[in-house]
Symmetry: C2
């Protein structure tokens, strides 16, 4: 497959927007402002000279440097479409093995180079963006360290090169009748090492666990040495360092191998889409379901606003009319859509949902969701062509706080561009549930600004206002996307000064000159230089 | 209830050893050597003068200092029975609230005092033992900070003072139809703060999770400040500091409040004791059961040696004869005993076990186990009276390694006193299972030595040889008892130099003069003094 250099995913997938969706967006938001995009050739011509000379250890190819300069956040998209990346890595290293990786880090340490570990480049929080640095910057891609290295069927453990992508990892495991079961929306492009480094959560984490539960051991190359984190099922031998590597975002070192807990492929998965009459009751339904211990494999509950918008984006006129009529007939004027996986317990789950106002269960729509589960990011391209910017926010909080947090987030987003008299389309779903609470995943759309800078300004206003609201209302700044550079300013409020000082101390211990991914996780100047 | 000052548990419980057990021990180990015990009065008379004067913040009462000097390891028992504690705290503080706790720590910081946080005093790894220090030592008991402070039934979270004991915690939750479900063998005396600080695991952790999964948030008083660790169901916002507090064993600070994830009381628990014909097949049975995702609430599998010994300790002559005949009839010459909890799925679990050679399932024996689940430590007293020393070891490892680790541990223990021509009685059960692996819990008995010193020497030989074997064979030095002072020397091998250097850095950051529980977790002199 060829990968789109300035947007999401494979070049052979290019969805278009249904006419009804375009009409709805124009009505709700006003006309789109297509800003176009520069060609790859033009973008390459804008790449500045490297501060490093060519080496066995890396390449200074302008195209390679361009292709590794940005992730997939909206600011990244604006940079990619405009061809102006801000900063570029001076070189891209693609080590084949541990020895080459070690040699690169040893050299980086000696020469005070900055190193940015790079997995699938799918970050939406600025994890792999190049900081403004006086020091040369090398982006270190793990793409070639992507093989299955060991599989223990007794302990159900598999070790991979950290750069293995989701599809390659599942293919290697499926061939031996195993699965990891980790399916984030970025699955097609993101990598095992990236999942660990950013504390990723897959769509079926209710069955398989978050990456925290799947991560059993690793080889991590710190700036100074090779660190083997042993696999052990559970331990009381002091703090668990795996938990410090999880979410370390490249700041402690570079993951070269990761051992994960695998499972036999499931015999039968059953995805359903259900519709419930009332959102508040639907929230009660999923909370009571998880707290009762019913073994659902996924619970993804859309607010009526999202339900409406998703149906408009997904269904053609006649199908949509039929569904609207049916739901009205059943008294679901404000339908809340629940996508779930039920395995052997699907009947018990259906019965539970019926008690909370479910009016429809469709395995056909559930299977449709399953087939299209990684497709949503491609819609960004269709929206971009029509002149609309789209981004998402996500957080998690305790059940007692979930509705007030959702209302605060949505209110803030809807009014953040009021000074320009510009409405914002905002909708939310509950994406992951726990006994204690749940995550909220909010999508927001607005017409692009008059130009790239104006579009970025709009995003900054929306992002900053909402991020501040999230942490002030007791949510975490990220449930599944990580911190990167975009969320780092909000960690102080979320974690408090004691935790932040300890984190700074830990990073400084491993990396006294802040050479590894500086600015990610912890907002800082290039401390220690 | 009155608590035994020099042994385990309540003074009103005093089990005796069945005659058959005494006979068996004499046959296997030779005659016991009763060493007796000094009276409380005598032990108090041996308490040296305090280096601190009496204060509002603490007491220097010799009896209080004696009662807080030691835990429950075998060396602790030898100290308690002989009346010679080695070192004693200079004072015991029993703060009533956060302000008093804070005041104590502020004073300790200013005056360079050593502070040992104390929960239930049930450590079997030397967590709360007083180090040899030039500085005055205060043992800080959380016993009075033990109340239910908040309960959120929606998010199913409860906040307690960290010093709450197991029974008091469950009573407060049960009154509102909730449970924590954390039942370590030390349940009667151990405390919530201690569980968190030492990464405790309860007998039903398959249902409820280890304390890591139950721990949602806390207030931790570091030497310098009050640290609030917020509750959030899950987060990708960098490393999770809760995981550093878990297992920190008082070295980062003192837990004053802990928030835990609670659940509604279960409608029905079903405990069973099953007997399987063959141990290897029984290991396969529990591994395949957990890896198939069958929802057992507990799986505790005794090796035939333990099965035999436990039956001898528990059953009278005629009952034992009957059982032996029945098992022989069913072809179970080497029976392996499995205690398990099955809830709604008990039939599926029984069917699964039948496929792996189960010859008996008894709910009566299962319920007997449930009733007696916290009784085993009381047997130590009966054994002591007969002149036998008993201790336990525990570890965890991946399934592929479980049998070779068990054999190495048992072989080492059996031969560790060979130079004295002294056999050691050794038996093991698998106490906790995971998809990836399981924990091993080994009990060993030997006649006490000629005197207290000789007994301690025997224990040191056994403990050191086996601890080294555990970490060299890829086991963790502790699955559920923690590190304390006894296991600290073995962490270097288990964790490796990178992890150990980082841990040292972290402890030094929070506590530069090593005033909080020095010597626990990390073997060290009084660094930084």
């Amino acid at each position: 497959m060829e990968r789109r250099w300035n947007g999401w995913g494979r070049t052979d997938i290019a969805p278009t927007l249904p006419e009804a969706a375009s009409t709805m967006l124009a009505e709700r938001l006003g006309p789109g402002v297509p800003l176009g995009e520069v060609s790859l050739e033009e973008a390459i011509s804008l790449v500045p000279p490297s501060r490093l000379s060519e080496s066995e250890l890396w390449s200074t190819s302008p195209e390679l440097r361009l292709r590794h300069a940005r992730g997939q956040s909206l600011p990244d998209w604006l940079a990619l479409k405009s061809g102006k990346m801000g900063h570029y890595p001076d070189a891209v290293a693609l080590p084949d093995n541990d020895d080459q990786l070690r040699a690169l880090l040893d050299l980086a340490r000696e020469d005070n180079l900055v190193v940015i570990p790079y997995g699938g480049g799918t970050s939406v929080a600025g994890h792999i963006n190049v900081p403004d640095s006086d020091r040369p910057v090398i982006t270190l891609s793990l793409a070639r360290m992507n093989r299955l290295l060991a599989l223990d069927p007794i302990s159900q453990l598999a070790t991979f090169g950290a750069g293995v992508s989701g599809p390659d990892l599942e293919a290697a495991l499926n061939a031996q009748n195993f699965t990891l079961g980790h399916f984030p929306q970025s699955f097609e492009l993101s990598t095992l090492g990236g999942w660990v480094a950013s504390r990723s959560s897959g769509q079926q984490s209710l069955t398989y666990g978050r990456i925290e539960q799947l991560f059993a051991g690793a080889v991590l190359h710190t700036l100074n040495e090779r660190w083997v984190l042993p696999t052990v099922p559970a331990s009381a031998a002091g703090p668990d360092w795996r938990e410090a590597v999880l979410g370390s975002e490249g700041r402690l070192g570079v993951l070269s191998q990761v051992t994960v807990r695998i499972r036999p492929l499931p015999e039968k998965e059953r995805f359903y889409t259900s519709v419930l009459k009332d959102y508040d009751q639907a929230v009660e339904a999923v909370r009571s379901l998880i707290q009762a211990g019913l073994p659902a494999g996924m619970l993804r509950l859309s607010h009526p606003e999202e339900t409406r918008t998703q149906l408009a984006l997904a269904l053609s006129g006649s199908k949509k009319q039929w569904l609207d009529r049916y739901l009205a007939l059943r008294g679901a004027e404000q339908p809340a859509m629940l996508v779930w996986e039920g395995g052997e317990q699907h009947r018990a789950i259906r019965r539970h949902l019926n008690r909370y106002g479910a009016v429809m269960h469709s395995q056909t729509l559930g299977q449709h969701w399953q087939r299209k589960r990684f497709a949503a990011p491609y819609l960004r391209e269709a929206l971009w062509q029509k002149g609309y910017c789209v981004d998402t926010l996500e957080t998690a909080t305790d059940w007692a706080n979930i509705e007030s947090l959702r209302l605060a987030i949505e209110h803030t987003l809807r009014h953040a561009l009021a000074s320009e008299d510009q409405p914002v389309l905002v909708f939310t779903h509950i994406s992951h549930v726990y006994r204690q609470g749940a995550s909220l995943y909010t999508t927001y759309l607005f017409p692009c600004g008059q130009d790239f800078d104006h579009s970025l300004l709009r995003w900054r206003r929306l992002k900053h206002a909402t991020s501040a609201v999230i942490v002030e209302h007791g949510g975490t700044i990220s449930h599944q996307h990580g911190v990167g550079r975009d969320h780092a300013p909000y960690l102080n409020t979320e974690k408090g000064p004691v935790a932040q000082a300890a984190l700074r101390q830990l990073l400084t211990h491993f990396d006294p000159k802040a050479q590894l991914n500086p600015g990610a996780l912890l907002e800082e100047d290039e401390c220690g230089v």
